[in-house]
Amino acid sequence: MVHLITELSKYTMIILFALYTWQCFSALGRHVDLEEQAWKFKKQMAYMYLFHLNAYAVLYLSTKNQDLLKFYLEQVVFFLAVQALYGIFYKRVSKLVVNNMCMLMCIGFVMLTRLSYKHAVKQFVIAIVSMALTMLIPYFISRWKFVRSLTWMYALAGITMLGVVAVLGAVSHGAKLSFSVAGITVQPSEFIKIIFVFFAASMFYESTEFVQVVKATLVAAMHVVILVLSRDLGAALIFFIAYMVMLYVATRKLYYFAGGLLCGAAASVAAYFLFDHVRVRVVAWQDPLAVFEREGNQVSNSLFAIGTGGWFGMGLNQGMPYKIPEVKQDFIFSAIAEELGGIFAVCLILVCVSCFLMFLNIAMQMKDFFYKLVALGLGTIYGFQIFLSIGGDIKFIPSTGVTLPLVSYGGSSLLSTLILFAVIQGLYLMRERGEEEVEMAAKPKKKKQKSRQIDEVEEKISQESREIGSWVAKNLGEANEGNTKTFDEAKTEKVKKPGRKKRKEKLSSHEETIHGTKVQDFD
């Protein structure tokens, strides 16, 4: 009987998650109005809670562990609280990003509970603390204007911390990645990724002159070299790609990008010959079964899991994901593919892609060049980490041992990803608010009028959301950027006309609209 329920649940969970994934994209469609969109996001949450319930029902039935019931309810309360807090204090953030954040964490909790109840509980506690901390970030990010001027502080902090870890850090899994303070193990590279993005953004915000590019590149290279020396290849690659992307977008010089990638390729080849542990990864990637006893063990086991699971999966608790070394951290995707199925796994990739598109979307929506670069950098970090993690698990690329953000076990990974999401939400908040300010500046008004203006703003938000949707749809479909342009043009005109007069001194060539007007959306 339990087996039957497990079997049927395979399909119901796939259907629920597929419906969720579908809404990620359909909610942003061209012809979806704001009301309909809100309804779709509500439906998304319903699918998530149903999936969550279904998964824990199966886990409970197959383990008969009473603690799971309590654990499940705690998680429901947690998700409800997150939704409610965002709903009350940050009305203007991207609801889709909030939903995806919850969904990914939800899948992570389910899978970790299946793999190790003890670790799942630990992860849950970390999630609560991290969420509480990062809840404040959107508020501050939209107010603290000085973040763009801390350029060299970022560089100093990043290089110092990475250097300290490289020299003193504990050797874990052949890579010097972490150190322990008061019983808590911290992996600094997870956080320095974010600091690094702020560094690069403020550098290029100041100037994109050649000298500046050289300075920035030297600092970036130091980061990457330290990471390679401390054998954290995955992080080194992420830093490298994030920097190349930001450099390319900031300077708009394709040859920087192409040249950089070529250098990167050359460096990879050199690393292959210089470092044993790079060779091991490549050997395991080429033919994992041929070196099953040693190098290929992890990747082979991952592929056994994915292959045996097939499109529909083995069902929760029916597979053997624990056979994969490091399954909780780096190979969680394989465990998901094995037990929840290949279709579920593809949907998971699509949800991650949906997050990535929302990150790049805000990068394009912002008008302040600094924040554009921040959003771009964070989006690149997130997107590329997804690519490295999943690509390594399915043997699309050599495994680099990076976590799947929000899903994998690991406190540093979880906290840093939540910070990243919170910063992005702060930008969404700022974008919406910036427009409101302009409107208000245009017509100095009495208090009464405010409500009407908010209506207007909301009207505009709805219009924009649709445009975002059309942009996403377009970018998934054919290559045509004409529409985006027309939209942006129209919008910026509206905004700029009145705002222009009020502009204060230009902070730099990239500075466009920064105002400090107080609008309470966190109270």
Binding site: T308, M320, V353, I394, F396, A479, E493, R500, E512
Partner: protein, 488 residues
């Protein structure tokens, strides 16, 4: 006026803003493209590559299926049950092999590890495609479902004939259908009884005499010197290098002296003046040593590479790679020894069968396969395995030419026992010396036969220490051909 200039300005800046987003769009496309490729690879892996990993003996996951499924049957193409699971009244399960050791290596065993079809067909045997409601019913009652059956390409009659014909000898017989790649029979001796392997296990693994090694499937894993059967490849290389091979002539005196060795014909026969056809048909060693002297070693190596030497054979059974070690700087002794199939060259019987099949099939190799289809226990087909081309090993003209040569072996050479039958046979014998003791040799035959009605089958036989191919191996092949072509 002022307003319009502001508008103009803002347009300009907007325009800049627009253009600024172009790089963002490029990056977005780049990443979306990467994700698309990754998802594409995931689908590709699931559809095309996953079976390699699912069926890997390292993958222990499938065994958990056994908790919910009764292992399915393995059947011959003509409907005989080769392996089945008998469920006792107390629910205990026993794997039973009605024909004992006859199919030992082909079907394999399922205790103390797995081998043969039991190993690479494991996944199918432990999956149930019984009627959906029946599975639901069993699920509620907590009963096991009946697993799917594997229907093989193995022909019971041919297997039995080959098994009996090989008798008490060590060696191997493999029968392929060249036009499809179907494995019709596969016999390796010495063998074991899969019914008792669990009880015998300690004895089997403690027997370290490498000559016994009864668990080794000699068809795919036994590496033997090819002896004169290798002259097929030497001839092909000679034809490729010498378009005027018709003019070849050699005076055989029974022996030829090399730098350090002397090569002589089998049983010290003296063949006299002979052209290439006769050299091949009579398997004249001295003539072929002479040919070997003149061959381009590099080109010869490339030919053997293209003939799957040093490569894994495209089959599901675990196989060893044949080896061809002749290098450009090898000395003449090695070159001549290689030309007559001695020296360092080693082949598996399956490899010879594969080459023979390609010759019989106009140069095109069909991938050998043994699982024809899987079906649920009620007989509804679940998955049909189709024959697939591996590629052309040689050109159609070359295949036809080698076919003529091999026909001559039967009509006037060492394979004359196959002459004058109700089928047209062609082949090549071999007597491969394998030690310094020149009096002992492995007997080889590889060839094919056909009739209008029943098509073509290819047979490869090796009898360890059997002596001459013509006396020890050809009769076994003949029995297989006779059996296959006898019935109406």
């Amino acid at each position: 006026m002022k307003k319009s200039s502001v508008e103009q300005k803002s347009r300009n800046s907007t325009h800049i803003n627009k253009k600024k987003n172009r790089e963002f769009v490029v990056i977005t496309y780049l990443f979306v493209g990467m994700f698309m490729l990754m998802m594409g690879y995931f689908a590709y892996f699931q559809i095309f590559r996953s079976e390699d990993f699912i069926n890997s003996p390292y993958n222990t996951r499938q065994n958990t299926f056994a908790e919910h499924v009764v292992r399915g049957e393995i059947r011959s193409a003509d409907g005989k049950t080769l392996a089945q699971t008998v469920v006792g009244e107390d629910g205990s399960e026993t794997r039973y092999y009605p024909y004992g050791s006859m199919f030992a290596h082909a079907v394999g065993y399922d205790s103390n590890g797995k081998s043969g079809i039991e190993s690479f067909g494991n996944f199918s045997l432990l999956r149930s495609h019984a009627f959906f409601l029946e599975q639901v019913f069993h699920g509620i009652q907590n009963q096991k479902n009946q697993g799917d059956n594997i229907v093989t390409t193995l022909n019971y009659d041919l297997q039995e004939t080959a098994y009996q014909a090989l008798g008490a000898n060590r060696g191997a017989v493999v029968v392929l259908e060249p036009s499809t790649g179907k494995i019709l029979a596969m016999v390796s001796k010495p063998d074991f009884d899969p019914n008792t392997i669990e009880a015998e296990w300690e004895n089997i693994i403690s027997d370290t005499d490498s000559e016994n090694s009864i668990l080794v499937n000699r068809v795919t894993q036994g590496l033997y010197p090819p002896g004169s059967t290798f002259k097929i490849l030497t001839t092909l290389e000679y034809i490729r290098e010498n378009p005027s091979y018709h003019n070849y002539s050699y005076e055989c005196t029974g022996s030829i002296a090399m730098e350090n060795t002397e090569i002589h014909c089998y049983n010290h026969a003296v063949h006299g003046t002979e052209n290439l056809e006769v050299s091949f048909a009579k398997s004249c060693n001295t003539s072929y040593a002479n040919i070997g002297l003149g061959l381009d070693k590099k080109a010869f190596g490339q030919l053997c590479d293209s003939m799957l030497f040093g490569k894994a054979l495209p089959i599901s059974y675990p196989s060893n790679k044949s080896s061809f070690v002749l290098k450009e700087n090898s000395n003449t002794d090695e070159a001549t020894q290689t030309a007559i199939g001695q020296g360092e060259t080693l082949v598996t019987p399956m490899h010879m069968a594969v080459i023979t099949s390609a010759i019989a099939n106009k140069g095109v190799l069909m991938r050998p396969y043994v699982i024809d289809h899987t079906e649920n226990y009620k007989g509804v087909t679940v998955k049909k395995y189709r024959s697939s081309q591996y590629g052309a090993l040689l050109s159609e003209e070359e295949a036809a030419k080698l076919g003529e040569f091999m026909s001559l072996v039967v009509s006037e050479g060492t394979g004359s026992q196959l002459n004058g039958q109700n089928y047209q046979a062609a082949g090549k014998t071999g007597s491969a010396e394998f030690s310094n003791n020149k009096s002992e040799s492995h007997a080889w035959f590889t060839g094919y036969a056909s009739t209008q009605e029943k098509g073509t089958i290819a047979v490869t036989v090796i009898v360890e220490k059997g002596g001459a191919g013509s006396t020890a191996a050809v009769p076994i092949a003949k029995q297989v051909f006779d059996r296959y072509f006898s019935e109406s």
